[in-house]
């Protein structure tokens, strides 16, 4: 073996360090939080926009009936309850328990699909149209923006579930499941805020 000689130097051997880590040790955790910071800022700015537009009107909602509460509220209950299996799947993933993770993913995908189905019923129950006035535009866009995230995470979970059944399992997949669970919390938290704005703001402010 060819070698180059040079004066001996002390070394820092890192070969014993782990390759599978969770939480704030892993880079995808940081990447995911970066993305949630961006998306969260968008939600915050859009909600600020909603209330800015509120100040331009005397009546709220202006010229439309109040949004019907039923489907949005049901979705909120489902999403809040879904935090329980979500917490379990995150813990199981970080322990590397394959069967529990597979089962949990299926449960989460079913929940997410139910959410999407109910979401489709929410749009007509807004009782306004997007091109009617600024209130309608803001309400539709805010709900659309959350739906975009909900559908994205549903597909994400679905793909992840397929991957967990169809490809060789390695530590990274458990990292993905853990991160996906964090993203689901983001969906829940942003829905709570969005729900309050869309359904309660017209009644309160």
């Amino acid at each position: 073996m060819a070698t180059l000689t040079r004066p001996p130097r002390p070394v820092l051997d890192v070969s014993h360090t782990p390759t599978v880590v969770f939480g704030n040790r892993s880079i995808i955790w940081w990447g995911q939080w970066g993305m949630m910071a961006i998306e969260g800022t968008m939600f915050a700015i859009f909600i600020a926009t909603y209330f800015f537009l509120r100040t331009r009107e005397t009546d709220w909602p202006p010229g439309f009936a109040l949004p019907a509460m039923k489907w949005g509220s049901i979705n909120l209950v489902i999403l809040v309850l879904s935090c329980i299996p979500n917490a379990m799947i995150k813990r199981k993933a970080e322990k590397g328990q394959l069967q529990a993770v597979r089962l949990g993913l299926i449960v989460m995908v079913v929940i997410a699909i139910v959410n999407c189905g109910i979401r489709a019923l929410e749009f007509p129950s807004l009782n306004c149209v997007w091109d009617g006035n600024a209130y309608g535009s803001a309400t539709w866009t805010l709900l659309g923006f959350h739906t975009f995230h909900l559908v994205a995470d549903t597909l994400d979970s679905l793909v992840l579930t397929v991957i967990m059944f169809a490809t060789p399992i390695e530590g990274r997949r458990y990292q993905d499941v853990s991160i996906n669970a964090i993203y689901w919390y983001f969906i829940v938290v942003t829905w709570a805020a969005t729900y309050l704005v869309i359904y309660w703001a017209p009644r309160w402010v």
Binding site: T5, P8, P10, V11, F52, A134, P168, R172
Partner: protein, 643 residues
């Protein structure tokens, strides 16, 4: 330095191991290979070249405007073309040059080297963000060359840019170009934060991070909280224009001022996003060319953080002329004046560094010193304008044009040229010609002041901005001619730089590892760096890594060389945490970028493009995400789980 344990000694470098590293980290050559690169230096150079090309394009547009304004009642350009040209100039310089160059290009190329690692975090996302930026820029220029260039100013205020006053596709192209460029910047922001926080060389604790890396990290945070505002405001503009929403339509409960709030909530931080990298460059160069450590590291760092925070509380000072409540205006005046404290602190730290050091006047240092002069002048006129009565007097006049060119060219372009002269030897391995650099510097400096100083006076004499010509009876003639003459000098200066660049690639003096005797880690490796950046990953013993290194400074071993394994360290103290594996060359970023572009560009023309576009993008992301069997199996065999 406790975290580095000394586990053994090495006395030989295995050539085989280096060859394996080379094999592992090399990106393929050839035409098709070019589209698969994920190396941060390769992508960083593309950002630099592309952003510089847009800088030249924006410069040509500026020259055309100066030609038009050089004499009264000139009909070289018509009003419509002139509107397009000043809009294109502003949009190009802000969105396609300043941010991509000062933040994306420099951060992507330099941050991984300066923290001593082998690639940037999320390399495929990095490549994707480059293509997205490129396609956004090409979209804007495709519009311009087909007489569909935006003509509503670089901030595209409604109602002018709304569906009633700008039919056609001009404003839509502008709005979607914003989405492209901001998406690109947001992606790079995440990469930079993760790289700085998780990928530093062992020993580089938070209080030892080079100020340039801190600057880019602070900017990355600003990007995350500022850019969403403009993506939203321009998307809402697009919705108003394409699917009849009413966000900005006062007749249906919308509001035009809302647009200005959202735009400037981004737009003011944007200014700091552009110049904080500049201050990072200046801190680095002043330390190197004063031959001493930077004075007041902590003070400078806190000043940058302070500037970043305060930068989010100033946006209304762009809107004093819109008739807001006086109480609000007073608040924003006070907040605007606060920036002076943070910026002043930095300036005094630099002055002390030079005062107590031994200044070497090489070209990077000249440009850094010019930054002082010009940026401080721009800052001073900025303080004037923070006062509401003054602002109302000079709003929308050439005084504003003079002010922001002093701030932006002083705060970004001068530091950029300083950075190019300083780091080019690292990038190409050769030094630029110093005599030509001095010509470049003096012509650019004099030309700049000739061009923009008279604009202060023109503004005070009442010349409004964005007029395509003016009657000869106005007292503006001579000063405009002077400004146009200055533009000629600036053009010559930039041409000298370009010639110097092409000359140095073949004939420049060989630089060696560390031509300036600088302190940061990028100078520890060869120029240009090998594909794996560092043959042996470095460790760090102090704030100035190379100046503080002990003769027995340990090196990192134990990383696999048959895959792109990188070392991750703990956030606070940067002791070794774990090893992660980065992806190799792949065409997936450009495929995903093309899919995204079809989605974005399609929705300009019809809302029906939304669902096909998003499905296409989703498919591309699915391919991106799908695990590669071979790599999975290999990783599984060597897996060590955290305890």
């Amino acid at each position: 330095m406790t975290p580095v344990e000394q586990a053994g000694t090495a006395s030989v470098v295995e050539v085989d191991s280096l060859q394996r590293l080379e094999q592992t980290w090399k990106d393929p050559g050839g035409f098709w290979g070019w589209f698969t690169h994920v190396n941060h230096r390769s992508i960083g150079k593309r950002f630099m070249v592309t952003a510089f090309a847009f800088f030249l394009a924006g410069g040509v547009l500026a020259a055309l405007m100066r030609l038009q304004l050089s004499r009264p009642e000139n009909h070289f350009l018509g009003p419509d073309l002139y509107n397009q040209i000043f809009t294109m100039h502003g949009s190009t310089m802000m969105f396609l040059f300043a941010v991509p160059m000062m933040f994306e290009a420099l951060a992507v190329y330099l941050v991984p080297l300066m923290v001593g690692n082998r690639n940037i975090c999320f390399p495929r996302l990095n490549a994707y963000s480059y293509y997205i930026y490129l396609f956004g820029g090409l979209l804007l220029y495709a519009g311009f060359f087909t007489n569909t260039g935006p003509d509503v100013g670089w901030f595209a205020y409604v109602p002018l840019s709304g569906p009633d006053f700008t039919p056609g596709k001009r404003a839509d192209i502008w709005a979607q170009m914003i989405t492209f460029t901001e998406l690109s910047a947001l992606a790079v922001a995440i990469e930079v934060i993760c790289t700085t926080f998780k990928m530093r060389a062992p020993g580089m604790s938070l209080n030892r991070i080079p100020l340039f890396v801190w600057a880019q990290t602070i900017v990355a945070f600003m990007v995350i909280f500022a850019m969403p505002a403009v993506m939203l405001s321009s998307t809402m503009l697009l919705l108003d224009r394409t699917v009849n929403t009413h966000f900005y339509n006062p007749a249906e409960g919308g509001d035009a001022i809302l647009y200005q709030h959202l735009f400037w909530f981004f737009g003011h931080p944007e200014v700091y996003i552009i110049f904080i990298p500049g201050t990072g460059i200046v801190s680095t160069i002043i330390s190197t060319f004063s031959r001493r450590r930077i004075f007041g590291y902590t003070a400078i760092l806190l000043s940058m953080v302070g500037t970043a925070f305060v930068g989010f509380g100033l946006w209304v000072h762009h809107m004093f002329a819109t008739g807001l409540p006086q109480m609000g205006e007073s608040f924003f005046t006070a907040a605007s004046l606060m920036v002076v404290i943070a910026t002043g602190t930095q300036v005094f730290c630099w002055l002390v560094t030079m005062w107590t050091g031994k200044v070497v006047l090489k070209s990077p240092m000249l440009f850094a010193l010019a930054f002082f002069f010009i940026f401080i002048m721009g800052g001073l006129t900025g303080v004037l304008m923070a006062s509401v009565p003054v602002d109302l007097q000079i709003h929308d006049t050439f005084f504003i044009v003079a002010h922001f060119h002093y701030v932006l060219i002083g705060g970004a372009v001068f530091p950029l040229f300083a950075a190019l002269y300083y780091w080019m030897p690292k990038i190409t391995g050769r030094l630029l010609n110093e005599a030509a650099a001095k010509w470049h510097f003096w012509l650019f400096f004099i030309g700049f002041n000739l061009t923009f100083f008279p604009m202060h006076i023109l503004g005070l004499r009442g010349m409004p901005r964005r007029i395509y010509t003016y009657p000869s009876a106005m007292p503006w003639r001579n000063l405009n001619l002077l400004a146009s003459t200055g533009a000629v000098l600036m053009t010559v200066a930039v041409l000298i730089f370009i010639v110097n660049f092409f000359w140095h690639v073949k004939h420049g003096e060989i630089a060696g590892n560390n031509p300036w005797g600088a302190a940061t880690l990028e100078w520890a490796t060869t120029s240009p760096p090998p594909v794996y950046n560092f043959a042996e990953l470095p460790t760090v013993n102090g704030r100035d890594a190379l100046w503080d290194a002990s003769p027995q400074q340990p090196i990192v071993t134990g990383l696999d060389d048959d895959c792109r394994q990188v070392l991750m360290t703990h956030v606070m103290d940067a002791d070794p945490d774990h090893r992660d594996e980065f992806p190799g060359p792949t065409p997936i970023p450009i495929i995903a970028a093309i899919a995204t572009s079809i989605f974005f560009i399609g929705t300009i023309f019809t809302a029906k493009a939304f669902f096909p576009g998003i499905i296409l993008t989703g498919i591309a992301l699915l391919i991106w995400y799908w695990p590669k069997r071979q790599a999975s199996l290999r990783r599984r065999k060597r897996e060590i789980w955290q305890r």
